[in-house]
Symmetry: C2
Subunit: 437 residues, 2 copies
């Protein structure tokens, strides 16, 4: 993509109303623009990141055996009356009345809709187990939306719902999601720690939150430092027994300040570390909380109806954009992990309009594109080198290729690693080999 | 994907309330389930088709130089007061009041939001031309939703918005979309004809609809039969002059019955044919209709402010699923064009549970998956051959591989082309070579 034809409104000033670093950087780097309180336009650069995250989340859900569907954003209120949550949910639910005076709502979550869908289709225990997931926009009418996409009103979630015959089956479904989440966050290039959690309005008695560690995180956390070194096993067999992996990850102390009791873990001494984190995932087992009132049953092996055991599993996809920035930035701007970077390479022409640098840049650009490398080419003729450097550091692409007249005369350009700041001069072919290899 | 682990509720009965063939087939083939009037759940098979269409639309927008963004579904009513459309839009607009008593709405279209976004960013004629597009859910509170996803309330659109300095520039933007649409529909495997259209509530004075021809189409159309044979030029240069292509496609008579005047085209004699079609795209040039009241100006080359010239360009992405089925089906079910088929291959095990057919099927399944071919493997042990054949024909995958005990003994399986009905017996290796080649 040529920057001269893109839509990348970077801001020099720090927006006054943005209180946290991810919100400031998302506005400054031209990832989002506010439409109205808590509701954002995703600009081209931000939307590319959002879609990359979404795709990684999708691939890891698929790998675990979950099946993708899409439920509507606008729901019938009647189902929420069946489950008993319609009155409980309070003002965070955006209630809507349609032209025929029917009560509708913009879904803040989809337990009712998916339970209704499943009960209309599943007949027998042979239709189990299933895990249905979607990646869909939701709305929560926050009284005071803030922190950009971290606490917005319209937000993108991955939400999965498992259906099993009994608690043992549901536990297996829960473990699959637990491990899929470990895989997902590892691929996103961040450290996420599962912590036992309160279940809140979703209900149920088994629940974990996943928090990304970041110095600027919203929540205090207390963790055994051994948790920080744990790795995710490669090539998990999702049909196998995942309990040992779950046990391994949950054997050491890890709690949000909400769940941490004064003095808990004191026996750990220096092994207990205090840190900060951002919640990006939450998984729940809640048994028959929805299936029972809503009549979601299947015929068991003996023919008698059984209430289906369910769980639900969320990942805050749009929130992750902010959370990753909280974990991955420096003074100059964002430092994207390569897996979610909007482009892999930023190509800087230090003297756009000069025949020699133009020719080299056009050639590098064409060859990188042809090799399938995502490149953002700063070909702007009316920007100085300093502004181009600052923009490229701000938007945080993993690699910068800097082409200037002196280097071109010597047959080299500079390759800069955004994360380490390391710069090397290389021949054009060597740069291509490094980036397209 | 193994059917035993999928979520594919096919119906044997024809749903009573579905009046058109695409609606009936989408319900019967397990593509969608209604949530409430005009609002649908997309089941796994249907959602795969929707995403394939979405991706082709996206690639052709990108190729034309349009840049992808995402605007919110929930919009502030204030912008619609600025443009003057808030009161005009009537009851089809889903109006919402948030917890702070602010007037909001679920966007039926995004001219106001994108104009507001663009005016907050563009400063100079150097920021033009631009074309910003999104693929986003919209809501139109139809008084009588019907025909499944063809006239639903919550629906997925691709909508693009172009910004130019003057009418000549806007015409170039219009032509790019015109040609991008020809490319898009050709890739989707259907015949779509551009026809001069009324502009309706979007406004403006230049507009074309694109209609897919289908015998069961909703609209009558009158076209010079020469239009039916026109092809889309390969490898268009979107920076070049596209007017000749547009002129070529619009030189012959083509009109919907709405635009067709009694007796028009009579001089064409037998060259004028009457057919039926389904609107799947609509493009508009409307000049300064929104930029002027909303103050979307840029500094022109002389420094004086200029109202930006705009156009908007829609494709009904969810509607296309139904429209393609209207154009592509037979007595037995759907016949997907390969480009949008949810899976390329359906693998039928005629005797699931028998060691010999199981072994052959597992081997074929693994090898096809490894080669990157999307396969739906009917491994169900409790279904008869007849039901498996009927299901596979109904869901319309382009290729069926039929593995039975007799064939396995002879070292062959049957390869069936869904569209032609042609069947050939081939060795397993020959089948792999045909499908993965």
């Amino acid at each position: 993509m040529r920057l001269s034809r893109y839509f990348l409104p970077v801001l020099k000033e720090t927006p006054a109303d943005a209180q946290i670093v991810s919100h400031r950087l998302m506005l400054r780097a031209g990832l989002i623009r506010q439409h109205t309180a808590g509701i954002y336009n995703w600009l081209p650069l931000g939307y590319r990141v959002l879609r990359k995250i979404e795709q990684i989340v999708r691939e890891e859900q698929d790998r675990s055996g979950a099946v993708e569907i899409l439920m509507p954003t606008v729901q019938s209120a009647d189902l929420w009356r069946e489950s008993g949550r319609y009155e409980d949910y309070g003002k965070e639910m955006l209630r809507i009345v349609d032209r025929h005076e029917r009560d509708m709502l913009y879904g803040p979550t989809h337990e009712e809709v998916v339970t209704d869908l499943f009960r209309s289709i599943a007949r027998s225990y042979k239709d189990l187990p299933r895990n249905l997931y979607q990646i869909q926009w939701k709305f929560r009418d926050e009284v005071r939306p803030r922190f950009g996409v971290m606490r917005g009103r319209e937000f993108l979630m991955k939400d999965a719902y498992s259906f099993d015959l009994d608690e043992a089956g549901a536990r297996r479904a829960y473990n699959k999601m637990f491990v899929a989440y470990l895989n997902t966050f590892a691929r996103l290039g961040v450290k996420a720690i599962p912590m036992r959690a309160a279940t809140g309005p979703i209900g149920g008695n088994l629940s974990h939150e996943f928090l990304i560690l970041a110095e600027t995180g919203e929540s205090g956390v207390f963790v055994h430092k051994g948790v920080l070194d744990k790795t995710v096993p490669a090539d998990v067999d999702f049909d196998g027994d995942l309990q040992p992996i779950v046990d391994d990850w949950t054997s050491l102390y890890a709690a949000t300040d909400e769940m941490h009791e004064e003095g808990a873990g004191a026996e750990l001494g220096d092994d207990l570390v205090s840190a900060r984190g951002i919640e990006v995932g939450h998984i729940f087992y809640f048994g028959t909380k929805y299936s029972k009132p809503m009549g979601c049953t299947v015929a068991g092996p003996d023919g008698a109806p059984v209430d289906v055991h369910m769980g639900s599993y969320g990942i805050g996809v749009s929130r992750l954009v902010g959370a990753i920035i909280e974990a991955c930035h420096d003074e100059a701007g964002i430092v994207w992990p390569e897996e979610v970077a909007p482009f892999k390479v930023g190509l800087i022409n230090l003297k756009s309009g000069a025949a020699e640098t133009d020719a080299v840049c056009e050639d590098l650009y064409a060859k990188l594109e042809k090799a399938g490398v995502d490149v953002l080419y700063d070909d702007r003729a009316d920007e100085r080198a300093g502004a181009k450097f600052a923009t490229m550091d701000l938007i945080g692409l993993p690699w910068q290729v800097i082409v200037g007249p002196k280097g071109v005369a010597a047959g080299v350009a500079e390759l800069k690693n955004r994360a380490t700041g390391e710069r090397v001069e290389l021949s054009f072919d060597a740069i291509l080999a490094r980036l397209a290899g």
